[in-house]
Subunit: 223 residues, 2 copies
């Protein structure tokens, strides 16, 4: 049980710092990004539990950023939007936004929305440590140990393993895996999954055969 990590993506520094301050006071661990590119970089390297995302930003706007994020993650996202037009909202839901706050807003309102969303999505803490035989997974640090040794798993490998872990003992079809790990809009070969599985098994060493192949379907991670 540790601190909850929140990423604020907002180009206007003053506003960003203000939100940060309030979030900090509420006990959250805050990461900042002033544009979309930076946001995605942070999101990939840090463990983020919730994203506060401004729509209007240079380089990559909020919709694009959330679209990117949704390719790999179901992290709750709150959008800050200046306009309150209905079509704005609809567009937002298309890219997987969970909630909206329309500018100008009170910090009180934003805090309430964030807390509500966290509650709704059952985010409690992220620093989970899991153990499967000699395989230890530290989601907080995004680190995996095999037999005590630090193994570097590539993003795809890591995400895939996480999906398996989250759905332990469930037969998962290649399509399901593709959709979750690669995203809806991936149009590659089914067999790509096989290759990642191959690499996963190898890196997992003796625990490699926790990943069982389910013929005619896909794979299953056994605990």
């Amino acid at each position: 049980m540790y601190q909850i990590n929140i990423l604020i993506v907002e180009d206007e520094e003053k506003l960003r710092k203000l939100i940060k301050k309030y979030l900090f006071l509420e006990g959250f661990h805050v990461h900042e990004a002033s544009n979309g590119i930076e946001a995605l970089k942070i999101f990939d390297t840090e463990t983020i539990d919730l994203v506060v995302l401004d729509v209007m930003m240079p380089f990559k706007n909020g919709y694009e950023v959330s679209k990117e994020i949704r390719k790999t993650s179901q992290v709750p996202i709150i959008m800050l939007t200046a306009r309150s037009a209905e079509d704005d909202k609809l567009q937002g839901f298309d890219v997987g936004i969970d909630d909206y706050v329309t500018k100008p807003f009170s910090t009180r309102e934003l805090m309430a929305r964030i807390k509500a969303l966290l509650k709704r999505t059952n985010v409690t803490s992220t620093n989970e440590k899991m153990q499967f035989g000699v395989l230890s997974i530290d989601t907080g640090a995004r680190r995996i140990l095999v037999d005590g040794e630090d193994m570097t798993f590539s993003p795809k490998e890591y995400d895939c393993l996480m999906y398996f872990v989250d759905n332990a003992n469930q037969a998962l079809s290649r399509e399901q895996i593709l959709n979750r790990v690669w995203g809806f809009d991936y149009f590659g070969d089914d067999r790509t999954v096989d290759t990642v599985i191959k690499r996963l098994r190898k890196k997992m060493g003796v625990e490699g055969d926790r990943i069982q192949t389910v013929r005619g379907v896909g794979y299953r991670f056994e605990v």
Copy 2:
């Protein structure tokens, strides 16, 4: 056991596809209709476990559709409504709506409502665990244990057993089995079934003779 079948009735294609994606990710089997007429047609021909119904639609609006459905079925219905007016809701409950989601909504919310409604109405999911003597079937894991030991069933064997289990104590003709497990477009020998039965019985061990042969017809799985 089969997947849960959900029918989405929504004229706005983008939104419909979006909902479909999320439902698919949750493991549901999704049917789509873009208007009321189409919806009723699908409802009559397919087995539907839950309906997501938009109020505002061309040809036949949501109320009319649900009224039609309620003439023959108590299937759970969730209404998507743009307005949040109270009288709207009242009108809905009159025609037998089970729950409401007001637009705009987050996919997360809709998923939560659907799951809650399925639970409330006791629609069982695919993750069933069944027990027949020393034979345990875990459909989620697509795994079969015989006397505690993990037996790998080939796709045909598994599908065949599932068909038997779903139609326990019923005599099933070879033709029925072929149609269901192999598909309508299979043109092989009737006796192919015999071979799969042979293999099934063997793998099922002591529970093998739950599969009784019905001379002149086919087979029957006894519970």
